[in-house]
């Protein structure tokens, strides 16, 4: 069947891309081949716009066992253990069907981890929504959280961390980024490289249906709501749990030589990638693929994105053993093809060849683009806005809204700062009995590694607002913040994974954001010595004319040599409180400006990466030595919010003894609520805090003794005098999620 003129546009290939396809193939493609090229050359699979930029990112370090290119990255954490992790987006599906979109996002990233031979031990998520006063956004939040919990809880993988941020730019285009962490022994790491011509290709897990047809292609175009109808996948975590256990059991033997999950672009992508990575060919017959629907064409089978499926490359003598293991887990395994030595991906339909393409054409010949880049005039204007015209706060105690205390209460009860308890309590975060620092208790999550004395810490961060005002600086901040959060629990940051969520790269302003952010991220990764070991790119996050705030999410993982020695947010009665790091707070891009003045404006705070590294090193050493057990970085809302959060977490008040360290302008609001990187509040016994201050100053890090923890009030310089209970009540109302059965009283005697 010939390809009709323009038919390639249905699989989102441009006229030029189709011409290139015909040129490299040396002929017109068959319809199945066209569909396969459409998927493999989509932005989602082919990284057309990001690939030329991503080479700037550092990916190597002595402790990196597996960098980008495999299903997930892997690092050495000592004692012969490898930690495998990756973050991935499921934005477009979640915009349309939030519960299933988020659930299958979790399912996909979990498969990436156990495909590597690692047992998943933790999930984190990074979410973005429009403001909660829009009912649709509340619906999206509720269902995305429900979907993440519904899938992860059933799998028995604790969801231990995350972040959520609200801004109108995410109206209609929420972001759902899920990160999974797994652990295995070095020698047990599995790669997805087919090898050994004659080896058998087996498909394990769910039957194949028409769900998710063209998901990869449509994740790469604007306006998800019109494009995604009918292409949403539905998750089955029960099936995934069986698949997980079956696959991990199979990896104990030598029968399976490669494993590749079926994610975006389904069978097409997994067969092509497996063959291409291994430098071999593959031949499959779609008639051998078990279906859940009748009448499916070869094209549909090759492009289905049915969930919970896994491709195995198995030695011929091991097929029976593999089948028996799989069947013991109540699943079935089908032999659908073989590995060949001719480098061709050959697809048959009941014997008839419907596609025959050299594997490398799909992966190596995908066009890449360097687009025109120009910052939007609007962004420049916002960044240059004169912030000095904003009235300062009075420097005396008063309870009104326009006072330091009033602003503090207001910020604590705002959606971007308030407690996330109503979200993380819907996730099972205690299963596996390994959660040492739980959600809400520290700046990062700490997990123990059973069988060793070690722990790992994980955090996921990005300040989308900083990135919208200055993508280079904002992306660098994301790396600094994520690693700082690890340091605040006492971990040594080792590596990061990233998820680049951006708008349309074909627009100059969109490409500017993407290219600047990657460059900024690369500079921070180098300075802080954290390579990027895995990642994902999600572009075209635009509804109509409004792109999202660029969001290069950073998931960071670090190690604690002795997991018993760590830090949390909570201080103790009588502790001395100090601020380590002397960066000047700034109102530019702050939550205070956005929440209190409705302004996304100014330049985000400057980031001195050398200072950042020095602050992180100093605080980590103090925690690692066992002298400091309380640390919290100053994030959204600045120093005032950081101190209030520590008081709330511990239920112990604090009295400032020093003047609050402010910025050059001398403004009261800037000193309390201005934001700056490299600032960590610590608390502990007087001699230990004084020793830390001395060592910080010795390392060139300005540090200030702030005051003492104690009592039940937060008292400061005559500007704040509030009961902790009042702060806690404000903080608890941040997401203001109404009880679905409000008015119903629990039953008690």
């Amino acid at each position: 069947m010939a390809i009709a003129p323009g038919q390639w546009r249905e699989v989102a290939l441009s006229d030029d891309e189709y011409r290139l396809l015909v040129e490299v193939l040396g002929r017109e493609p068959t319809p199945v081949e066209l569909g396969m090229f459409g998927a493999m050359w989509s932005e989602h699979c082919g990284y057309k716009h990001s690939r030329p930029l991503l080479s700037q990112l550092p990916t190597e370090a002595p402790w990196v066992l597996e960098g980008p290119g495999e299903n997930a990255g892997a690092i050495d954490v000592g004692d012969g253990l490898a930690v495998v992790f990756k973050v991935e987006s499921h934005n477009h599906p979640s915009a349309v069907e939030p519960y299933e979109g988020a659930a299958t996002g979790v399912g996909g990233i979990v498969r990436d981890i156990f495909t590597m031979g690692a047992r998943p031990i933790a999930l984190l998520d990074s979410l973005r929504f429009g403001p909660l006063d829009v009912p649709r956004n509340r619906y999206l939040l509720d269902n995305v959280v429900g979907g993440i919990g519904g899938y992860g809880n059933c799998l028995g993988i604790p969801t231990v961390g995350g972040e959520v941020f609200f801004d109108p730019s995410f109206n209609g285009n929420p972001l759902v980024n899920a990160m999974c962490i797994g652990v295995t022994e070095h020698g047990a790491l599995m790669r997805a490289r087919a090898s050994g011509p004659g080896n058998v290709i087996m498909l394990v897990g769910a039957d194949t249906g028409r769900d998710g047809l063209h998901g990869a292609t449509f994740a790469s175009v604007d306006d998800p709501t019109s494009s995604h109808r009918g292409v949403i996948q539905v998750g089955n975590p029960f099936l995934e749990k069986l698949l997980l256990e079956a696959c991990l059991e199979l990896l104990h033997g030598d029968d399976v030589v490669a494993m590749q999950d079926l994610g975006a672009a389904g069978l097409t992508s997994s067969v092509v990638e497996c063959a291409s990575r291994g430098g071999v060919g593959a031949e499959i017959d779609v008639a051998l693929v078990p279906r859940r629907e009748t009448g499916m064409s070869a094209y549909e089978v090759m492009l289905s994105e049915s969930q919970e499926r896994m491709l195995l490359v198995v030695r011929p003598e091991g097929v029976a053993r593999v089948r028996s293991v799989v069947e013991r887990w109540s699943l079935h395994a089908s032999e659908i093809g073989t590995v060949t030595d001719d480098g061709q991906v050959r697809i048959r339909d009941d014997g008839t060849t419907v596609a025959e393409v050299p594997a490398h054409l799909f992966t190596d010949c995908c066009p890449t683009y360097v687009r025109e880049s120009a910052e939007s005039i609007d962004t420049i204007a916002r960044r240059n806005l004169d912030l000095t015209t904003i009235p300062d706060l009075p420097s005396e105690a008063n309870a009104g809204p326009q006072s330091v205390a009033g602003c503090l209460l207001s910020l604590l009860s705002s959606p971007n700062i308030g407690s996330r308890r109503s979200i993380y309590e819907r996730y099972d975060h205690t299963i596996l009995a390994g959660t040492v620092v739980a959600p809400g208790d520290g700046d990062a999550t700490v997990l123990r590694l059973r069988g060793t004395g070690r722990g790992i810490a994980a955090a996921i961060d990005c300040n989308s607002r900083y990135c919208s005002l200055d993508p280079y600086l904002g992306a660098a901040h994301a790396v600094a913040e994520a690693t700082r959060n690890l340091v605040c629990v006492g971990a040594r940051p080792l590596a990061i994974t990233n998820c680049l969520n951006f708008g349309n790269p074909e627009k100059p302003a969109g490409y500017f954001q993407l290219s600047q952010a990657v460059a900024g991220m690369a500079s921070a990764c180098r300075a802080l010595d954290v390579p990027v070991v895995s990642g994902n790119v999600s572009l075209y996050n635009e509804t109509g004319e409004s792109p999202i705030m660029p969001t290069p999410t950073v998931g960071a993982v670090g190690v604690l040599d002795d997991v018993r020695i760590h830090a949390t947010l909570a201080w103790r009665e009588g502790d001395v409180v100090a601020l380590i790091g002397g960066a000047s707070p700034s109102l530019g891009g702050s939550e205070y400006l956005a929440h209190g003045h409705g302004l996304v404006a100014g330049s985000p705070p400057p980031l001195d990466l050398n200072q950042e590294a020095a602050v992180q090193r100093t605080v980590r050493r103090a925690i690692d030595s066992g002298q400091i057990r309380t640390a919290h970085d100053c994030g959204l809302g600045g120093l005032a919010v950081a101190l209030a959060e520590m008081a709330i977490a511990s239920g112990v008040g604090m009295t400032m003894e020093a003047e609050v360290p402010g910025g050059a302008s001398g403004r009261v609001d800037e000193a309390w609520f201005g934001e700056a990187p490299g600032r960590i509040v610590v608390a502990g016994p007087e001699e230990h805090v004084e020793a830390l201050i001395a060592s910080a100053v010795g390392a060139g890090v300005t540090s200030t003794r702030l005051g003492r923890a104690g009592g039940s009030r937060f008292v400061a310089s005559g500007e704040i005098d509030v009961e902790i209970a009042e702060l806690a009540a404000a903080y608890a109302s941040g997401l203001d999620t109404p009880d679905p059965l409000n008015g119903h009283q629990p039953v008690v005697d």
Binding site: N153, G156, R450, P746, D749
Partner: protein, 234 residues
């Protein structure tokens, strides 16, 4: 000879490894996983039905697991007075199997809840309660979507009269309050037993509270009863 504790793995059980590890590594008894297709409990001194989502919670939590082959043996084991402990999904399975009275309904909020809670023990007895005193409060995590214990008032009265109410959700000091009963259980019930006291179901997870490092070790107070169970000759 009865010498070991069987932790039953159903398809979709996900608390089986935690229960196994708590019993074997923290309590120090001989505990082993047992497949749901097993048809004999020879040598088994006690049975633990762990938490999780057996059969994906399809149909109803525990409704399919009750038909697993091993459950025939668990039923006769329980009838002979053998100690059976159901944790979370295991509790749900035991009610579905009619080894325990009542049912576990959707939480009052209609949402999954994971947090640390306190439960007050109401009785002391054989099997699983040998280490806890009436009035004793333990701090344990819960993690469930369907944990609201329900039975009709007559059944509840009978359970109270028979001493089958094993534990209730409470505040740290042991008093009952609307907030301590987060899932909306009838009379704040967190754990019940059968009439013989040998079959116990509880919603909180003692196997996740076995070390101060992970938030507490109160779970060991309960699980250490396995030591006494194994000490009793068959």
């Amino acid at each position: 000879m009865r010498s070991w504790v069987a932790v039953i793995s159903f398809p979709g059980s996900n608390g089986d490894q935690d229960a196994l590890s708590a019993l074997r590594d923290e309590v120090g008894v001989d505990a082993r996983l047992m497949d749901h297709r097993e048809t004999t409990l020879d040598g088994v001194a006690a049975v633990v039905l762990p938490g999780g989502f057996s059969y994906g919670d399809h149909l109803r939590c525990g409704a399919i697991a009750r038909f697993a082959p091993v459950m025939t043996e668990v039923r006769s084991f329980a009838a002979r007075g053998g100690p059976v402990l159901g944790i979370c999904n295991g509790f749900q399975i035991l009610t579905e199997a009619h080894l325990l009275p009542g049912a576990l309904l959707r939480n009052r909020t209609l949402r999954f809840h994971c947090h640390w809670t306190h439960i007050r023990f109401e009785r002391h007895g054989n099997a699983w309660l040998s280490n806890v005193r009436p009035g004793e409060v333990l701090r344990l995590p819960v993690a469930h979507g369907d944990g609201a214990y329900f039975a009709d008032p007559e059944t509840l009265d009978r359970l109270e009269a028979n001493g089958q109410v094993v534990a209730r959700y409470c505040e740290q000091d042991g008093h009952l309050s609307p907030t301590s009963n987060a899932n909306g259980s009838s009379r704040s019930i967190a754990a019940v037993s059968n009439e013989g006291g040998n079959v116990v179901g509880l919603m909180p997870h003692p196997e996740r509270a076995t070390n101060p490092l992970i938030g507490g070790e109160d779970g060991l107070r309960l699980l250490r009863s396995a030591l006494e169970i194994l000490a009793v000759p068959a």
